[in-house]
Structure formats: structure tokens, C-alpha cells
């Protein structure tokens, strides 16, 4: 049985950016504030602890140090002054978890209906989905580390869910027992 570790992360700076993702200035502004490339559809782009998540065809979520958020908002506002967009600080609206261990796919499979197999969900892939009864987004940083965000108000629920699923042990589906 492989151990899976659940860790609630320290508050992280988060910016919701809605706009036309094909506008070059938008990608450039994002790269400037957190150093990440513009992610492809359904992907997460990383640069160290920073990340840019593709949330929908006109929405990104930028992860960056919380102290950098006000300055980043100013810079995005300036860079996109001429183009229709919405950039807001959502750092306090969500909680970030990390799920680490070789068995993380089996743990997540107990809670999300999304396909979390290696084929459908390789490192870099992001899924907006549900975790039992609440909304969540999950993405893989590496084969053995997943990140998860949920709304702030359900932090305790999600933490208890993840611990319950991990404690119950492996299913042996994503790593078939032989």
C-alpha cells in the first residue's frame, strides 16, 4: 500500500483573469506577472511555485505569491487597458491542497467522477470537477503530486474527505494489483 499525504497549503496569491485568451498582450501580461506560459486548453502551466490554470475558454487562474497580487493587478490592468477583460483578486476565496504519493490517483478516484487515469490525466492536465458534493479543480504537477483547489467555505469538508479517502487505502485500479 502506498501512502498518500494530504497537505493544506499556505495561502497563495490567486487572480481570476477573464478575457480573450488569443490576444497576445494577455499571454504576455500573464507571463510577466508569474513567469508561466499561457496553458493550452485543459492544462496547467508551472514555473516553480507559480502556475497559470486554464479554467475555461475565456478564463485563467494565476497563482503567485500573495504579496505580489496588488502589483500584478496593476500591471495586468495597464497591459490590457485597451482590451475587454476582468482581473480580480481571489486569493482569499479558495484553499489550495497538495496530494502526494504514488497512490494519489486511487484516492482521487473515490471522490471525483473525472477520469484520473494516467492516460487521461497526465502531469500538466487540469480538471474542473467535483469532489464528492462540492466543486473543485485538480491538476498534476508531477506523477506523484497533485494540487487541488476548492472554495474557502468548504475547506474543512474537503480536508476531511481527502483524509477519509486516503485512510481507506488503495483500490488497486490505477496500479492494478498483481
Amino acid at each position: 500500500m502506498s501512502e498518500v499525504t494530504i497537505r493544506k497549503q499556505a495561502p497563495r496569491g490567486m487572480i481570476t483573469l477573464r478575457g480573450d485568451l488569443s490576444v497576445p498582450a494577455l499571454g504576455a501580461a500573464c507571463a510577466e506577472v508569474n513567469g508561466c506560459d499561457l496553458p493550452a486548453r485543459g492544462q496547467a502551466a508551472h514555473a516553480g511555485e507559480a502556475a497559470t490554470l486554464w479554467m475555461s475558454s475565456d478564463e485563467l487562474l494565476l497563482l503567485l505569491p500573495q504579496a505580489d497580487v496588488p502589483d500584478a493587478l496593476t500591471r495586468i490592468g495597464a497591459a490590457l487597458a485597451g482590451s475587454h477583460h476582468l482581473a480580480v483578486d481571489v486569493s482569499d476565496a479558495r484553499t489550495l491542497f497538495s496530494i502526494e504519493g504514488a497512490g494519489l490517483r486511487d484516492v482521487l478516484g473515490k471522490l471525483t467522477p473525472a477520469d484520473v487515469s494516467a492516460a487521461a490525466w497526465p502531469p500538466g492536465a487540469l480538471r474542473r470537477t467535483r469532489l464528492a458534493q462540492v466543486a473543485a479543480a485538480i491538476w498534476l504537477r508531477t506523477e506523484t503530486e497533485a494540487q487541488l483547489i476548492c472554495f474557502r467555505s468548504v475547506t474543512d469538508y474537503v480536508e476531511a474527505l481527502l483524509h477519509t479517502a486516503a485512510k481507506a487505502g488503495q483500490v488497486g485500479f490505477h496500479r492494478p494489483l498483481r
Binding site: H84, A132, F151, V154, D156, F173, P176
Partner: protein, 997 residues
């Protein structure tokens, strides 16, 4: 009497004996036993009582189709009723008790019903217990409840854990018999992502029991080799003890895995309910043998021929010393041969066919077994166990030709493919007249999103009862699925001649015999009951099922279904396909409630949403009110204080000094873009585009049908940005409503929205001292001149960046302060400290409600209920006359919406100062067409107002605003009417002087 043989039993490990108890009796079995085989091995044939007549019941089957052997399993918190002995694997220390008996299994008082059976015909409950009506509640229902009831409900919480698991597979194969194994092997070799599930603990199904050879080796060896090959494929997942429970749309299948039922002390979840999304589903679910309808076929000792064979081959158990085999087909001869090879006595084979022939029959004759052709069983005799059978001509009326002493009858009326899963999601059936069963119709398969078949059924389940045919059919099916030629493994079993349909034995049986022919063992439905239903006019098989309770027991008619509808079709003089089948519904056999709940119990039964101030509220002993998934403090009672007293104290403290309210749950949606003003004007009934930056405005939102759906304060943040506050319950719904219109209707608008509800902690500082509290925290420019009612501004309070809205839902001077959620607790603590000198008092939702009612402010969900328009509530002022359109405008112009007779909002004041009951109606003269009292209004909100010192209410009243000072009478649930005067809904400070200081 049944007994354990000295040798034999392919599934048995005789080196590992296991002790268990049944009705307190200490018994012994072996590893590999089921509870059923262990009971039979110890001579326990009698296992329960039937539902209606409390007839003695013995084991009939050896698998999931068993109708009788349901037991209470376990004790205390682990007690579980209705557990099927045939699918319960024995473990050391198992305890079971039989069900539906009183006072004991051996002597049951309820069995007297059996002697009264002619007074308990089909539809008895409908006929008997309907009149006189009042007796139902006090006499009939308690009586039925006492005498009914299979098993006992546990009284303690279940200590075990359960889970669900979502899996996506290319191909799901249900059934681990030889067809399922061959399908899995072919798909695995082709590189498909395959999952194969088998409901029992063993692979191979019936083939090893039936002596089949495959590819030149005994079936057991072929199964072992195939499973080994599959285990070595990384793309194949194998699960035993995993039952395909239900097949749903779009390749969704539930599989019920029993992880620790056979090893209760093991770690981990007890059951796992798989939610599988399969690219394609292959059903290899096999077939179930049918009983024969002869008189006394329910006496313990009468069993399915296949079960008798299973018990001897798999578990080394003899079901009786002297067995009579009765059949209409060749397969049952295998049972006779198996018994003879085990050294047991087969007294006779009674074959209903006149001239049967085939290798199995010849082998039986060669062994010297007596074969009677063209004969049937006239009656089985015995009480709690079988004693003898009489033999009669099948073509006759049942006159006994001879009587044969026996303690076991192995019966076979033919086989029915297990088509349940195929039928769950729309697969159709066709009647196979030659082999007498419903088989899947491949031209009418369940279809997926692309309109193509999403389920394939193969092998025995597809009506190919012989092993060789089944494997060929599976190979064909897999060839079609995989697009490459799949070779069938070569199976060899004995050739079989045709069967003849036998639905009644003998075919001319009179009523006395038919009244003893059981179709549904558990629910006591007999051939005569179905025939009576047909005579009483029941033509539909679905109606007959409910009238007679045929197939409604926990086995869901697995044995009785086909025999029952064949009996019905004969009684109606119709063909079987014309009568049809009842509906097959998931799950295939009952699954545990625990597996359905999975992790959702205790602390995580439901998500509990917590505001940034939740912990403070909890520490102060808040009395909670659930608001959606949020918990909001209703009030903060002090030691010994009643809730009503706490609410009054909170209101008085707020109105006289300063109060504090956690409003973080209110929806906060930002709307931005060049077209945002236009969008806001369409969304709200009033004008929002003209709202100056820095100002707030109260707005209403209606649905397309004109009904008021939400309200709240809107703030203009900058030229192209608005912040919309919604109700707590409206946050997600209104955001979705906005996105719906933006994405589906006004996709050309340049508008973006974001739901920022959880980004902010929001705190209302309310009362005459509110300004002083904020100033103590460093708030500047808050004077009445600089910061007017309905202004908002950004500032810093207690070194926290804050947005302050000067809005009021209480009628007092009031500021709502929004700060980042992570700093909400710091602000709350600072406010409490700064306000201590003023007696600052946190208040809950009830004080909020009372204070808004004192001011005549409406509440979504109290004054509205989905049928109310703003015009009903005196909110016409919030509906713009200048705008061309807004959502709901057209609907509000319809005649009924513009009707002056719609009830209108007013205030209500009881003459005696009491509080009107919530929802109470104002009565009017006369009666309706239904004989009910006419009404002219109803109460929508009602409270005791500590400020006014009396009961106050709001209500909707016919022509209300034109009837000021008129006195109406309101009804109460069980008392006299209450008189109340129509007044203005604004009870407190109608000039608005208090909030404007």
C-alpha cells in the same frame, strides 16, 4: 436429510474447519463453504418461513437467485437482515438467525395462515383491509406490520466503512464464467483497457461443475490458465466478489464489490460501489434454472437440479439420501449422473417428455437409473421436510400411479438467460419458443450517445446454453467489437435433445393441486393466485405482479418471473410474448445502504460551509440556523437565556447602541465590461446604468416569467464595473443566471462576471454608535455630510484594506464592511474591542429578520415564493418605466400579472398584541367549490417586535393598501380566529430618520 460427504467439493478446504451458529446452534463448516452449503452439510434443510403463510422454507438454489434462505447475519451493530445464505461466504464465528418466524423456526404460530389460505387469496390485502377505513390505522396496519417484516432492522450505527470509486474503462465485462473469461482474454490480447467482474469468489461459472472440457482440458484447468494469462496483462483489471448491479445510460455501470464480507476482521472498507464509465459493456451473465410447478414444490428438500449438482460438486454436500430428479430437459440428467458418481441414490428420473433421447439420458439408463418418461410429480408430500412424491401422467390430471419415498427432489423446468442488466437501460427481449425463454434481441440493444449499441450480450446470457455454442457466440461478439477475427476456445459437452415447455405439472391439474403449486416462494404466490387474478380481469403482467405480489420479494422474481407470466398467459389464452415481462430494474440483487452512502456520513455527511467568522460563532455557543449548506448564527444565547430573550436583547442592544452581524454569506458578483451597464439594466427591473460611481442602489431581479427571484444592493465600482450583492441562497444561482444570459442569449455583449462571494468577509456594524466604532478603528471621512446614505468607499480600518457600504437593512445607521476573507476575523476582533465601550453586541439572523420586518423590508423566500411579482409587494417604485426591456417585463404585462385583484403587501397588527401564526389565512365569506373557506389574504412574515412591544406581521391581502385600518380575521391551526388590523408595513421610524444620521 442433507449431509456432508466424506470426500469431494472442488471449492472446499477441509483442512480449515470453521465454526458458526444458526439460531444459536453451534455448527461447523469449512473454508470455501457458503453459509448455505455449510447449513446443508450439517443437515439444516429448514432455513426460514415464507412471508404470508409462514410455510417452512428450505434452500432451493445455490446462487444469487435463492428466494428462501434469507437470514439475519451478525449481531449488535453488525446485524444485517435479508442476507442470502447462498451468496454469504462462511467465516469463522459467523452468526445467523432465520427470519419471519415466531416464536421459533421449528414451531411457528403464523403457519396457521396456511390452513386459512383459502381465505387469503390473491389481492387479499386490497380486498380485506380497505373497509371500514378508520380500522386501517389502528387495527389493520399494526397487524400487517407485525406479521410481515422480513428480518430485523439493526438498532445501532454501522461500525463498518464503505466507499465508492469512479473508474473509466474501455471495455467492461460482467460475468466471470467461461464466456466472460474468453471475452476478456480476446480484448486483453487486443490491447483494450478491460475490466472483468464476477459476482462470486470464483472464476469459471458453471462449466467446471458441468464437466465441460475446453481446448482438450477440464474446464477448471482452462479457467485457471486463462485467469493466469489475464493477471499478467497490465491492461486488464480483474475483480471477484464484484457484481454488475446496474447498467445505465451512456455506458455507466454500477458494480458492487464485497471486500470484507468473507473476512469481517480485515482492514479497509466493507463494500465498494464502483461507478464505471465504460466505452462498451459486454454482458456474460449466464442463465438461471427455472423450477417446475407441481403441488408441494415448496416443501424443504425440493431444489433446483443445478443447485443439487452444485452442492455435491462444489462443496461435497448431499442434499438427500434418496433423490428424485424431475425435468423437462436433458440438462437435469447431469444432476442424476453427478449424484450417482458421488455414490448417492437417484431413485428415479421423472421426465415430462414422452420420448426423450440423448447421450446423457442413455448414460443414466446405462448406470441403471430408473427413467420414467411422460410422467410428472402429482404431489410432493411432507411438512418441514420432504417425505415422498406421487408419480402421475404429465398429460393427465394427477391421479397417482405410484408413490416414491424420497427426501430430495431435483427439479428443472429449463433455463432462462440472465437478461436483467441488458434490460436495465432499454435492451429489448424476444421470446424463443423452441427453448422457452426470453432472449436478448440483438437488433434492439441498449444504445449509447451515438445511437450505436453500447452493450453486447454474449454466451449463455444470449441464449446459448451449451458451452461450445456459448464460446462461439462470445467469439463472434468479440470479433465484432474488436474488428479482428477471434477464435473460440473449443468446448466439448454432451449433446442435448429438445425440451418441452411444462408450465403446469400435470398439465390437467385441478384446483386443489394448483393451490399448492408455488410460483413465488418468498411471497407465497401460487399458480391458483395468478389464475384468479386473470379471472378478476388483470391482463397486464405489471398489474398482476402488484395484485398478487408475484416477483415482489427480495429475489425480485428471479425464479418466479417466467413461470408466473407463462401461467398468466395460459390463463388469458394469450401467447407469452403478448403478455410480456415485468420491468427489470437495478440493482440486480440488493446492495448495501452503506455502499450508497459511502463516505457521506458523520462529519462529512454533507458539506458544511463556514464563514471566516464561523469559529468565533461556534466558540460563543451560537444557536445555528442552516441556510443552504451554510451555518449562520440564529442568535447568541447567554447562560440560561431563551432564544426569544437572546433575540430581544440583541435587537435592543443594536437599536440603542451598536450591533454586529456576519453578512459574509451574501452573494457578491462583479460585472464588468463596455456593455455591463446595458446588461445590468436588463438584469434588474430598475435602472442601474445611471448609478453614479461611488453610490449604491437597491435592485430587484425577476425571472423570465416576471416573478421576483432575488434582491440586493448594487454598487458602481468604476465606469464599467458593478458589484451585485445577492441573497445568501442566491449567490450561485444568480451567477449562473447571469452566465446563462451572457453565454446563450447575449453572447455578443462585452461583459465578464466573477463570483467573489467567498473572497470577502463582510460585517455589518449597525446602530446609533456604529460611526463612532469605525472612527475608533481609524475610519475617516465617515460623517453624514462626507459619507451619505447609499455611498460606498475604499478605506483602511484597523490597518486592513476595506470597502465600506453605507447601507441599512435594519433602519439604523449602518455600515457594511468588506475585507479579504483571510482578515475577517482580525476585523471582527478589532470591532468587538473598539465597540466594547458602547456595549457592542453580535446578533444573529433572527434579530436581522425582526429588524427588517419592523422596517417593512421584504425578504426573498418569506414575502416571495416564486409566484410573487414586485408589484404585489409595493415595489413598483423599483421598476423602471423608462426602460424598453428587462428580464420579466413582458411577462408582467400579461393580464393575470396586471390584475388589480392580486393580493398586495400590507402590515398587520393584532388587536390583542399577539403574534399571528406564520402562513395563517385571512378568512372571507362563503366557501369554495371544494367546500373550503374562502380566503382574502395570508401572512408572509410574523414576529414579536421587542421594539414595538407587540406582534407585527406582513401579509398579502386582497386590495390591501386600499383597506387601511380594516380588521380581518386570521385562522389558527387549532384555535379561534385572531383579529388583526391592516396597517402600513413600516412599523418603525417611517420617516427614515434613524438611518439617515
Amino acid at each position: 436429510m442433507s449431509t456432508r460427504l466424506a470426500t469431494g467439493g472442488r471449492l472446499l478446504d477441509r483442512r480449515r474447519p470453521m465454526d458458526f451458529t444458526f439460531n444459536g446452534k453451534r455448527l461447523r463448516g469449512y473454508a470455501g463453504d457458503t453459509l448455505a452449503s455449510a447449513l446443508l452439510g450439517q443437515g439444516q434443510v429448514l432455513v426460514g418461513r415464507s412471508f404470508k403463510y409462514h410455510r417452512p422454507r428450505g434452500l432451493v438454489a445455490s446462487g444469487a437467485e435463492e428466494p428462501n434462505a434469507l437470514v439475519n447475519l451478525g449481531r449488535g451493530a453488525r446485524l444485517e437482515p435479508n442476507q442470502r445464505a447462498t451468496t454469504t461466504e462462511l467465516f469463522d464465528g459467523l452468526t445467523a438467525t432465520s427470519q419471519n418466524h415466531w416464536p421459533s423456526l421449528e414451531f411457528d404460530v403464523g403457519a396457521v395462515n396456511a390452513r386459512l389460505s383459502r381465505f387469503l387469496p390473491a389481492g387479499f390485502y386490497y380486498k380485506m383491509f380497505i373497509h371500514p377505513r378508520p380500522l386501517w390505522k389502528y387495527v389493520y396496519e399494526p397487524f400487517i406490520r407485525h406479521s410481515a417484516g422480513l428480518g430485523k432492522a439493526p438498532t445501532e450505527a454501522d461500525p463498518d466503512t464503505y466507499e465508492q470509486f469512479h473508474a473509466h474503462v474501455g471495455l467492461l465485462i460482467v460475468g466471470g464464467g467461461i464466456s466472460g473469461l474468453q471475452a476478456a482474454l480476446a480484448a486483453g490480447q487486443a490491447g483494450k483497457h478491460v475490466m472483468l467482474v464476477e459476482q462470486t469468489a470464483h472464476w469459471g461459472g458453471r462449466a467446471p461443475v458441468d464437466g465441460v472440457t475446453i481446448d482438450g482440458m477440464p474446464a477448471d484447468d482452462w479457467v485457471k490458465n486463462t485467469v493466469e494469462a489475464l493477471e499478467n496483462m497490465p491492461n486488464v483489471v480483474l475483480r471477484t466478489r464484484a457484481m454488475g448491479a446496474g447498467v445505465y445510460d451512456h455506458g455507466f455501470v454500477t458494480v458492487y464489490e464485497r471486500l470484507t464480507d468473507h473476512a469481517p476482521e480485515a482492514e479497509g472498507p466493507r463494500h465498494r460501489l464502483w461507478h464505471i464509465r465504460a466505452g462498451h459493456v459486454v454482458l456474460a451473465s449466464g442463465a438461471i434454472e427455472r423450477p417446475l410447478s407441481f403441488a408441494g414444490n415448496d416443501i424443504p428438500g425440493v431444489m433446483l437440479a443445478s443447485a443439487v449438482r452444485d452442492y455435491v460438486e462444489n462443496w461435497g454436500v448431499s442434499c438427500g439420501d434418496r433423490t428424485v430428479v424431475v425435468t423437462n430437459n436433458d440438462d437435469a440428467y447431469r444432476t442424476a449422473l453427478a449424484l450417482r458418481h458421488a455414490g448417492l441414490e437417484v431413485v428415479a428420473i421423472v421426465d415430462a417428455r414422452t420420448t426423450p433421447d440423448g447421450p446423457l439420458l442413455r448414460e443414466a439408463r446405462d448406470l441403471g437409473i430408473r427413467v420414467l418418461t411422460g410422467k410428472g410429480i402429482g404431489a410432493a408430500k411432507g411438512g418441514k421436510s420432504l417425505e415422498s412424491v406421487t408419480i402421475c401422467a404429465q398429460a393427465g390430471e394427477g391421479a397417482p400411479l405410484e408413490e416414491i419415498a424420497c427426501d430430495c427432489v431435483a427439479m428443472s423446468g429449463g433455463w432462462s438467460p440472465v437478461v436483467h442488466l441488458w434490460s436495465h437501460t432499454g435492451g429489448k427481449l424476444t421470446w424463443d419458443a423452441e427453448r422457452c425463454f426470453f432472449r436478448p434481441d440483438p437488433t434492439r440493444a441498449p444504445t449509447g450517445a451515438d445511437g450505436q449499441p453500447s452493450v453486447t450480450i454474449a454466451g449463455t446470457a444470449n441464449g446459448h446454453l451449451r458451452s461450445a455454442e456459448a464460446l462461439c457466440d462470445t467469439a463472434e461478439a468479440m470479433t465484432a467489437i474488436l474488428g479482428s477475427d477471434i477464435q473460440a476456445a473449443e468446448a466439448q459437452d454432451a449433446d442435448e435433445g429438445p425440451l418441452v415447455p411444462v408450465w403446469l405439472m400435470p398439465q390437467g391439474a385441478g384446483l386443489p393441486l394448483r393451490q399448492k403449486m408455488w410460483l413465488d416462494y418468498q411471497n407465497d404466490v401460487k399458480v391458483s393466485d395468478v389464475q384468479l387474478a386473470a379471472r378478476e380481469g388483470y391482463e397486464s403482467v405489471e398489474h398482476t405482479k402488484r395484485y398478487t405480489t408475484l416477483g415482489m420479494a427480495t429475489d425480485q422474481g428471479k425464479l418466479s418471473n417466467i413461470n408466473g407470466l407463462a401461467t398468466l398467459s395460459q390463463a388469458l389464452g394469450k401467447d407469452i410474448p403478448k403478455v410480456g415481462t415485468t420491468t427489470f430494474r437495478p440493482p440486480y440483487t440488493p446492495i448495501s445502504m452503506g455502499s450508497i452512502a459511502a463516505e457521506a456520513r458523520g462529519e462529512i455527511f454533507q458539506p458544511l460551509r463556514k464563514t471566516p467568522l464561523h469559529d468565533w460563532h461556534a466558540d460563543r455557543g451560537a444557536y445555528w440556523e442552516p441556510v443552504g449548506h451554510w451555518r449562520r448564527p440564529y442568535c447568541f444565547p447567554r447562560d440560561g437565556e431563551s432564544h426569544a430573550d437572546a433575540v430581544a436583547r440583541e435587537i435592543n442592544a443594536t437599536r440603542q447602541g451598536v450591533g454586529l452581524l456576519d453578512t459574509s454569506t451574501l452573494g457578491k458578483i462583479v460585472v464588468k465590461g463596455p456593455d455591463a451597464g446595458r446588461f445590468m439594466d436588463l438584469l434588474y427591473t430598475n435602472m442601474m446604468s445611471t448609478l453614479p460611481v461611488g453610490r449604491c442602489r437597491y435592485g430587484l431581479m425577476c425571472s423570465e416569467n416576471g416573478f421576483l427571484m432575488d434582491d440586493g444592493v448594487v454598487a458602481r465600482l468604476d465606469d464599467d464595473t458593478w458589484l451585485c450583492h445577492t441573497t445568501t441562497g442566491g449567490a450561485d444561482r444568480i451567477h449562473a443566471h447571469m452566465e446563462d444570459w451572457l453565454q446563450c442569449e447575449w453572447w455578443d455583449f462585452k461583459v465578464f462576471t466573477a463570483n467573489l462571494t467567498e473572497q470577502y468577509a463582510q460585517i455589518a456594524v449597525v446602530g446609533p454608535k456604529a460611526r463612532e466604532v469605525l472612527e475608533k478603528l481609524g475610519g475617516t471621512g465617515l460623517s453624514a455630510e462626507e459619507f451619505k446614505f447609499m455611498d460606498w468607499r475604499e478605506t483602511t480600518l484597523a490597518d486592513i484594506p476595506a470597502r465600506i457600504f453605507r447601507i441599512s437593512f435594519s433602519g439604523e445607521l449602518s455600515f457594511e464592511v468588506a475585507v479579504p476573507a483571510g482578515r475577517g476575523r482580525a476585523l471582527w476582533d478589532a470591532l468587538l474591542e473598539a465597540g466594547a465601550a458602547f456595549g457592542i453586541t453580535p446578533y444573529g439572523t433572527e434579530a436581522l429578520h425582526v429588524m427588517r420586518a419592523e422596517k417593512g423590508f421584504i425578504m426573498i423566500g418569506d414575502e416571495t415564493d416564486g409566484t410573487i411579482i414586485p408589484q404585489d409587494l409595493g415595489l413598483g417604485w423599483a421598476i423602471s418605466k423608462k426602460k424598453d426591456d428587462y428580464i420579466g417585463k413582458r411577462a408582467q404585462m400579461r393580464s393575470h400579472m396586471a390584475d388589480p385583484d392580486r393580493w398586495q403587501l400590507v402590515g398587520l397588527e393584532t388587536l390583542d398584541g399577539s403574534v399571528l401564526p406564520d402562513g395563517s389565512y385571512a378568512i372571507a365569506k362563503g366557501k369554495t367549490a371544494n367546500g373550503q373557506r374562502n380566503t382574502q389574504g395570508r401572512v408572509t412574515s410574523t414576529y414579536h417586535s421587542p421594539t414595538i412591544g407587540r406582534g407585527i406581521a406582513m401579509g398579502l391581502v386582497l386590495h390591501g393598501p386600499d383597506r387601511m385600518d380594516e380588521v380581518l380575521e386570521f385562522n389558527t391551526v387549532d384555535g379561534p380566529t385572531v383579529k388583526a388590523r391592516i396597517v402600513s408595513p413600516v412599523f418603525y421610524d417611517p420617516e427614515g430618520a434613524k438611518q439617515n444620521v
